[in-house]
């Protein structure tokens, strides 16, 4: 029907339509309900809501990370985490950032998968996709708990200076599934810690 951003425009159109249509019963009731829908739609979810229905934002490279994402999604769903990502939108860069923010805001956890996206001049070393970095920065800015999974061939300078103090897990081509389980466990621990903090408030 329409993309998330179009929703509010659609609601506004409907309000105008109702006002102009004399055949509609209970105009006020219907208008009020649409206003309520708008408010609910734009409301920021509270921390409590975010923790009660925990969602994990997974950042990955469309080129080299799809298969890893697929496995991560399955593993996270098995632990009853909802999974979101920033994919599935065409448009300008500004639209993309807005789209990613809207998908990330209801999440409380973040999993970044750093895969071999750009070959570096040094032998057997790679840089990850730029979007994974951008999304990780956004996640930190939005106070999501961050866990990173990085391929062994990612050069240190592409993750260590920024993420060394965060939880990061190295994987190889052979042990991804095992390391993924560690990452999911870390995310579950982070979630449990957040819940504990919330209850202690």
């Amino acid at each position: 029907m329409y993309e998330p951003d179009e929703f509010l425009a659609k609601v506004n159109d409907k309000i105008k339509e109702i006002e102009a249509d004399s055949r509609v019963d209970d105009i006020k009731l219907r208008k009020d309900y649409l206003e309520l829908l708008k408010t609910r739609y734009t409301e920021e979810p509270s921390l409590k809501e975010r923790l009660e229905r925990p969602q994990v934002f997974v950042s990955y490279s469309e080129e080299t990370g799809k298969e890893y994402m697929k496995a991560a999604k399955t593993a996270l769903l098995q632990k009853k985490f909802k999974v979101k990502s920033g994919m599935e939108l065409d448009g300008t860069a500004r639209d993309v950032i807005k789209h990613i923010r809207s998908k990330m805001k209801p999440c409380c956890l973040f999993l970044g998968i750093l895969t071999q996206d750009v070959k570096l001049s040094e032998e057997r070393l790679y840089a990850p996709a730029a979007w994974v970095h951008i999304e990780t920065g956004m996640a930190l800015g939005l106070d999501l708990r961050v866990v990173l999974l990085y391929h062994e061939s990612i050069a240190d300078e592409w993750w260590k200076p920024i993420f060394d103090h965060k939880r990061q897990i190295k994987f190889t081509d052979k042990d991804f599934h095992v390391r993924l389980q560690y990452a999911v466990k870390e995310l579950a621990n982070e979630h449990a810690e957040l819940l504990k903090e919330l209850r202690g408030r």
Partner: protein, 343 residues
């Protein structure tokens, strides 16, 4: 949620499926799927292949919805103004979202001022940033289609009936029984049954194999495994019927007890019976101008040794009539209604 438990003699009576009307030429064309757990070690659903001391009864599921859809099947209900084209708009919008209508029941109501629509849909190909995709919904027990509901409310805001200021009559809920069945049971055997006048019969092969399956589970000294009965209940919605196959010879009987209609009487009866019997089915109504409560009960003896049905009934009658806890409730035991024992 299950409702209306009742017994059917499966040799003499066909099973009326609740999603048929029995009066409509469409009834014979409706789908009816029969499922039972696939116990790999034996052919009999009654026998789970273990030496369990509390053998399970064979349960069958009857539904018009094939198992492939169970994980992502939803019910949409909408009451809206009776305006030509409203169903077309609804189904067309669902089509745009790649949502497939499996069943549709719609009818005009309230002096043709409103129209009630009830659709059962499969969402296997539907995805939204908020409602997620099939992969997500099939895993999460608290999945919802809030995004779809919100969009439909906006589309139909001019026509929707409102129950109150905050309650538009448009709801989307999962068919939880089917989703749950898919998760608690692994594999199923599937049979497609033909409907006739809205009724089906169990395949004779299943009926003939069941006694052997029960004999393996319950031991060889089974009496009265003559007539198979179905203990039937209908799911919270019409699209699910559960059917447990019972025999009087398995220490299972049915009877009626009436009691004074006062608070706690039914609880006391259930409490007295539970010591020695598992209550497989229980229905209670008020009777005699609400002066009494009538309870129909299907009970299974917990005794290790299997007893003939008449002996089980004798013991229950003695228990109910003689128990001091029930004296003030003036219980009256009626075995004449027992279907399992030919009443």
């Amino acid at each position: 949620m299950l409702t209306s438990p009742h017994l059917l003699n499966l040799e003499e009576t066909r099973i009326f499926v609740p999603w048929a009307t029995g009066h409509n030429p469409l009834d014979d064309r409706l789908d009816c799927w029969l499922y039972h757990s696939d116990h790999s070690s034996h052919d009999h659903p009654a026998n789970d292949g273990t030496n369990n001391e509390d053998p399970k009864l064979a349960e069958f599921i009857l539904t018009p919805i094939q198992k492939d859809y169970w994980q992502d099947v939803w019910e949409i209900t909408m009451k809206a103004a009776e305006i030509p084209g409203i169903l077309a708009r609804l189904t067309s919008l669902l089509g745009q979202e790649k949502i497939n209508v499996i069943l549709a029941d719609t009818i005009t109501c309230d002096d043709s001022r409103y129209h009630i629509n009830r659709l059962v849909v499969d969402c296997l190909r539907y995805r939204s940033p908020i409602d997620g995709d099939f992969e997500e919904r099939r895993t999460l027990d608290d999945a919802s289609l809030d995004d779809l509901r919100r969009k439909l409310i906006v589309e139909f805001i001019k026509e929707l009936h409102f129950l109150s200021r905050l309650s538009p009559s448009l709801n989307i809920t999962r068919l939880p029984e089917l989703w749950h069945l898919h998760h608690i049971r692994g594999r199923y055997r599937e049979h497609r049954l033909g409907l006739c006048g809205g009724t089906v019969a169990l395949p004779p092969k299943i009926l003939s194999e069941l006694p052997q399956g029960y004999a393996k589970s319950f031991g060889k000294s089974i009496h009265e495994l003559v007539k198979p009965f179905g203990l039937v209940s209908i799911g919270g919605r019409l699209e699910l019927m559960r059917l447990s196959i019972v025999y009087a010879g398995l220490g299972i009987v049915d009877f009626v007890v009436t009691l004074e209609n006062h608070a706690g009487a039914i609880g006391r009866l259930a409490s007295v019976l539970k010591e020695k019997y598992n209550l497989l089915g229980f229905r209670a109504w008020s009777s005699e101008n609400e002066a009494r409560s009538a309870c129909w009960i299907v009970a299974r003896s917990k005794a290790k040794r299997l007893l003939p049905g008449q002996q089980v009934l004798d013991k229950i009658e003695k228990l109910v009539n003689g128990h001091k806890e029930l004296r003030s409730d003036r219980p009256a035991f009626d075995r004449s209604v027992s279907m399992l024992l030919g009443g």
